[in-house]
Symmetry: C2
Subunit: 338 residues, 2 copies
C-alpha cells in the first residue's frame, strides 16, 4: 500500500544553530517543503540582520534539499511599526515566549498588559504578521497551559485582526478556546497526539519524552487526537521537534524537547491509518490548513510512503529520536520535488 | 538552638540487600531507633526462613548501631492462619503490593476480591498483624492513588479489625479516607511533604526526585503537610527512602525512589521549625504515633540536633541523597543510646 503526501509543512520547528543545525536540518528538509523556524537561539533572533544571517546558515545546512525555512523573530514588546515594516519581507511570523518558560526564553514577555503590547501587536495585525505563542504561565506544571487560556482570550479580544497561533497545544481547554475566537489557531505536535504524562513518568522516567509543555492527561490527548484526525480547519501540524545532544537528554536535570523531525510523516501516516481516518484529512493537517491559515504556497514536493516496516535509528548524528530502535509500519519510499 | 528527638522511627524503609544493604543500612541505623523494612527483594521475602535470614543480614550490616529492623513479609493471598501463626513472632507487618506497581512488585496482588483475600486478611486481623499497602491502581499516573481509595474503603469495611496502613500517601483523597475509617492509618514521606510534580518535571527533569507514587499537586502537598505538622494521630513518618545506585538514577529510564534516610531528621526539624510547629508534634510524627499504632516500644535513643548548617554530601557510598550538595539548617550534634 502506498500513500502520497503533497508538500508537507512543519509549522513549528527548532533547527538550533552551529553544529547541531548542520546535524539535523536535513532531517526536516528532506521530507518537508518548509517549516516555521523558531527563533530561540542564544541570543534570540530579534533583528533583521540576525534573521537574514540565520536563514543563510539554514540554507547552507540543508545543502541541495528543496525546503523553505519560514523565518520568525523573537517577540519583544518594543517592536514598532517602522521596524516591523523593515523586516516584513524576511519573516513569516513572530514568536512570543513568556519569560523563562522554556529553552532559551529568558528574554521573553513577563507581563501581558494589553496597552503595553498594543503598539507592537496592532502593527503586526496591520502588516498581517501572525503571532505564534508559547502559551504557558509559570504555575503548576499540569495547569500552565489551561491557565494561559485567559491570556489567549485577552489577546484575541483586544486584537481581533491579529492571527494568533496557540503553539503545540496539549489540553482540551486550548481546543475549546479555538472555537470561541475567530483569530485563534493552533499547532499540534506528534508526541502530544501519542503520549500522556504516563509515558514520561508513569513507569520508569523517560527523558526522551520529556518536553514543554509536558504531556498531559488521557482526556487531553483524546481531544487533541480528535481535532487532528478531523483536520479541524484551525489546526496545523507543528512538530516542535527539538533536538538536544544525547548526553544532555540523558543527564541528570535533562532538557525539554522531543526529536521527531525524521519520523514525523511515517508516524502520522500510521496514526491516521490506525484511526481509520481519511488521508485527505492527513493532507489537510500536514499542509492544506497551514497554507490557508498562513497564506503560504509551499515548494512542490511529493512524498510517497509505503506500508513497509521502518526501524527507527538509535540516533541521528548524536540526537536520539522518538521511537529510537522501534519499528514503524510506514517508510518513505520516494520523494519527488522541484 | 538545640532540639532533642527521642527514639525516632521510620515506618517505611527500603534497605535492599547485598552490597547496597551494607552501603546504606547505617545511614538509618545511626539516627533511628528502628524502621519497618520493606520486603520487595528479588525474590520477595515471603516465608519464615527468608525473613529471619534477611533480618540477620540487616543486623550484620548495621554493625554496632542500636537499631531494630521491624520485619515484614510480602503479602500473598494464600497465606493461611497456620502459616501466619508460625511467622508471627518474626514480623511486625505484612506489605501488600498491587502486581507490577513499583520496584520488584511483580508478584503482587492483581485483583482485590474480598472473598479471595478473606482467609489471609481475617487471620492477620486475628493475630493483630497490620497490613501495609502500596495503594495505587494501574491507571493514569496522577490518578492512581485517588483511584485506589475505593479499594482501601472496601478492605477497611470488610475487615474492620485489620489495621490497614496506607503507605506513603500523596493525595488529599487519601487523607480524607483516614478519617472515614477507624482502621485506616497512613505513613507520609519527607519528599511528599516538600515537593510536587513541579519539582520533578516543571523545570528540567529531576530523576533524583522521581518516585512512586509520583509527587502530586500543590493542594495535595498542602494537605499532607497539614496532617504531618498537626501530628494527626493516625499518621506516622515513613521515609520510603529507596536507594538506587547513582548510575541507575541518572540513566535513561531511571528507577523510582528518593534516598532520604541520612537527612531525614535534619530536614523534618527544619520543616517543622519553618512552619512554627511545636516540636511535640514532630516527636509524635516521628515516633509517638507509630508506637501507639503499631504497639511497639523502640530502643531508647536520644538524637540531639543543633541549628548549625549541614552540607549534604553529594553521595553516600554511591547513592545520591535528596538535597545533595545543598545546605540544611540543622545538623545532628550527638546521639545518646543504649
Amino acid at each position: 500500500m502506498e500513500l502520497t503526501l503533497l508538500s508537507p509543512l512543519d509549522m513549528h520547528l527548532h533547527l538550533r544553530d552551529g553544529e547541531m543545525l548542520h546535524n539535523i536540518a536535513q532531517a526536516s528538509a528532506h521530507t518537508f517543503s518548509g517549516a516555521v523556524i523558531m527563533p530561540n537561539l542564544v541570543p534570540p533572533v530579534s533583528n533583521k540582520e540576525d534573521v537574514v544571517a540565520y536563514k543563510d546558515r539554514i540554507i547552507d545546512a540543508i545543502g541541495n534539499e528543496n525546503f523553505t525555512p519560514y523565518m520568525t523573530l523573537f517577540f519583544k514588546p518594543d517592536y514598532d511599526k517602522t521596524f516591523l515594516e523593515s523586516v516584513r519581507n524576511e519573516i513569516t511570523a513572530i514568536k512570543l515566549y513568556p519569560a523563562g518558560i522554556t529553552t532559551n526564553s529568558e528574554g521573553g514577555v513577563s507581563g501581558f498588559d494589553v496597552e503595553e503590547l498594543r503598539p507592537a501587536l496592532s502593527a503586526m495585525a496591520e502588516l498581517d504578521i501572525p503571532l505564534c505563542v508559547h502559551g504557558e504561565t509559570n504555575g503548576f506544571v499540569m495547569d500552565r497551559e489551561a491557565e494561559f487560556v485567559s491570556i489567549y482570550e485577552k489577546l484575541a479580544s483586544a486584537f481581533p485582526k491579529l492571527k494568533i497561533i496557540m503553539e503545540h497545544i496539549t489540553t482540551k481547554e486550548s481546543i475549546e478556546a479555538l472555537d470561541r475566537f475567530d483569530n485563534l489557531y493552533a499547532t499540534i505536535t506528534i508526541h502530544h497526539l501519542l503520549i500522556t504524562l504516563d509515558d514520561v513518568a508513569g513507569g520508569m522516567l523517560q527523558p526522551h519524552l520529556f518536553c514543554k509543555p509536558i504531556a498531559k492527561r488521557p482526556e487531553d490527548r483524546e481531544a487533541l487526537l480528535k481535532v487532528a484526525l478531523n483536520a479541524h480547519p484551525k489546526v496545523m501540524f507543528g512538530s516542535d521537534s527539538a533536538p538536544h545532544p544525547k548526553h544532555a537528554k540523558e543527564a541528570c536535570g535533562c532538557a525539554a524537547g522531543v526529536f521527531t523531525a525524521p519520523i514525523a510523516l511515517q508516524v502520522l501516516t500510521e496514526l491516521f491509518e490506525k484511526n481509520n481516518t481519511s488521508f485527505e484529512n492527513l493532507q489537510a493537517f500536514i499542509s492544506g490548513n497551514a497554507q490557508r491559515i498562513y497564506g503560504v504556497t509551499p515548494i512542490y514536493k511529493k512524498v510517497i510512503l509505503e506500508k513497509k516496516s521502518f526501524k527507527v535509528p538509535a540516533e541521528y548524528n548524536g540526537v536520539v529520536p522518538m521511537y529510537a530502535g522501534e519499528e514503524l509500519s510506514y517508510s518513505v519510499k520516494e520523494i519527488i520535488d522541484g
